[in-house]
Point group: C2
Chain length 329, copies 2
């Protein structure tokens, strides 16, 4: 299984769709352009803080793997990135984050008000683009996806403090919050290829997205600040409950459990307390269990790919799984 | 002209569409229902703080005035109210408002985070409802409208502090912020009646919406707290530039203008200073000029109604104009 062997580079994954992907930033610019100065200024900032374009890559790979890329796929790839951007702008505002992709966030650089309204602006631009799109399928898929993402955001508000937060709660949360958009991206990329291919790629995207989020949550327990650019244990510091902790808690004795509860009761836990709880979670196999879950999700996703014709794009979709579960930042 | 004579009651305006309007709250409930507890809780609060349903009334009157109401019009009326609600939830959050319709706002009762995410939730529910609607027209109209509203919100961020803010800026702002949704409501209500009726009602709604906002901004200079439930001069206190001020400034001598600039430079102007500036604006005819503008917009809107068949619904659309420019709260 490729996901177990060589580390995979983002550039490798993107190679089969490189040309189309390189057209996404201009398409994104076309969609969000505004002659109103304040919006234009925020747009420039957003276009500067380029992400990895992982979700547009999924749209294009799904298209390429199921018959080839058409010019409209570049538009859809840009719309998917735009929806992702809109949610990031609102997330940063809701979380009062000051940095994103190494650049100041919209709420930090402009204002909280500007961030809330710009999120709405970007989202409404995405909807208009989809309403004017020839095929109704992407609008149907993406309106459901954005709806699920808001439910995920809402569910995330409850993922704090309580050791009662279950793995089932966590699964529902990450499906809504992270997997829904990746699943939708793969689905609309494959839209010309018929229901069977669409269903496979939709499930692949769902499993990939869940693995992505689990791996991300594991990183918070394992990565050093020098690699990820954010301090280890940030989730714990904010009392956010994720899979490593959920998996470890049932294996703990009352004394260890009391240490976790102590952290959750502390509004500003010290570095020592956070480091201590990270050790306790790891010692009870929480990190390993979460890692295994990511690998398991990835293996399930690989099965969905087996029904696709053997192409460089299908190999790249395999590569996405390795990339997601092996990444270090 | 009816707008100059008898005061018109909301109940009078709503009489021709009363039965359909009474079905809107249940339809709204059906659309926003959620089995997730936190969303369900916020929904209950939103459904309790019933508004005047002025925008749903416009949808239904436009339908009734151009051929009659069908069951789907009740759905569209609910969607229009839902879009209005979503913007109120975000507005209150952006403005840190604590009261709305006499009830605590979502940001005050739950949290700022909840308000931002709930606004997104409500808006995404409205879009899903329109995507599943048989006729594509309401989705086309409402996606454009919600987009214009976000631009209006963004433009509003600039409507502060500067006496350079022009009447043209103000007109563009109120068209986007207020008139766009009322225009869209009338447009989709008339959607079965053909392009000529739709265009008339779209323009009627646009002019009505502008008159509505001008009258609202005049109230801030004239109404007493006991009537409106909010202190007079709130806009001035927050340095918000509206039509009465814009109209008065060119007529002022340098000393009076300096008093306005003094208020704008004062982060927390005293009650005396606000009352003083209100007097200055009134003395230079700013309030009268703005009132005249509202009456003029209303008269233009009445002309659009002349092309409609004489029905109680058309009379009620006339009544809406009187209601809007004569209201006291």
């Amino acid at each position: 299984m490729p996901s177990q062997t060589l580390p995979v580079d983002l550039a490798d994954i993107q190679r089969p769709v490189r040309d189309a992907l390189d057209r996404v930033p201009d398409e994104l610019r076309r969609i969000i352009v505004s002659d109103f100065s304040l919006i234009a200024e925020v747009n420039e900032h957003l276009l500067r803080m380029k992400g990895k374009f992982f979700r547009p890559t999924l749209v294009l790979l799904a298209a390429e793997a199921t018959g080839g890329i058409e010019p409209e796929d570049v538009t859809l790839a840009a719309v998917v990135e735009l929806i992702h951007l809109a949610t990031l702008v609102h997330d940063d505002s809701v979380d009062h984050s000051v940095l994103r992709r190494g650049e100041p966030t919209i709420n930090a650089l402009f204002s909280h008000q500007t961030a809330v309204i710009m999120g709405d602006y970007l989202y409404s631009r995405a909807i208009i683009e989809l309403v004017g799109f020839g095929d109704p399928v992407p609008l149907q898929v993406m309106s459901r996806v954005t709806h699920e993402m808001t439910i995920g955001e809402m569910r995330e508000l409850q993922a704090y403090d309580s050791l009662e937060y279950s793995e089932a709660d966590y699964d529902t949360l990450i499906q809504c919050k992270t997997a829904s958009l990746m699943s939708g991206a793969c689905d609309i990329g494959a839209r010309r290829a018929g229901d069977a291919f669409r269903a496979r790629l939709r499930r692949y995207g769902q499993l990939l997205g869940m693995a992505f989020q689990v791996a991300d949550d594991v990183l918070d327990y394992t990565a050093s600040e020098s690699v990820t650019g954010k301090p280890c244990g940030l989730d714990l510091r904010e009392h956010r409950i994720t899979l490593p902790l959920i998996a470890a808690v049932p294996r703990m004795n009352p004394a260890d459990r009391a240490r976790i509860e102590g952290l959750m009761a502390d509004p500003a836990p010290s570095d020592e307390l956070v480091a201590d709880v990270i050790r306790v979670v790891a010692a009870h196999g929480g990190v390993e269990a979460a890692r295994n879950r990511a690998v398991e999700l990835s293996a399930q996703a690989e099965q969905e790919l087996e029904g696709l014709p053997a192409t460089p794009a299908r190999d790249a979709l395999h590569g996405c799984l390795s990339y997601v579960i092996d990444r270090r930042s």
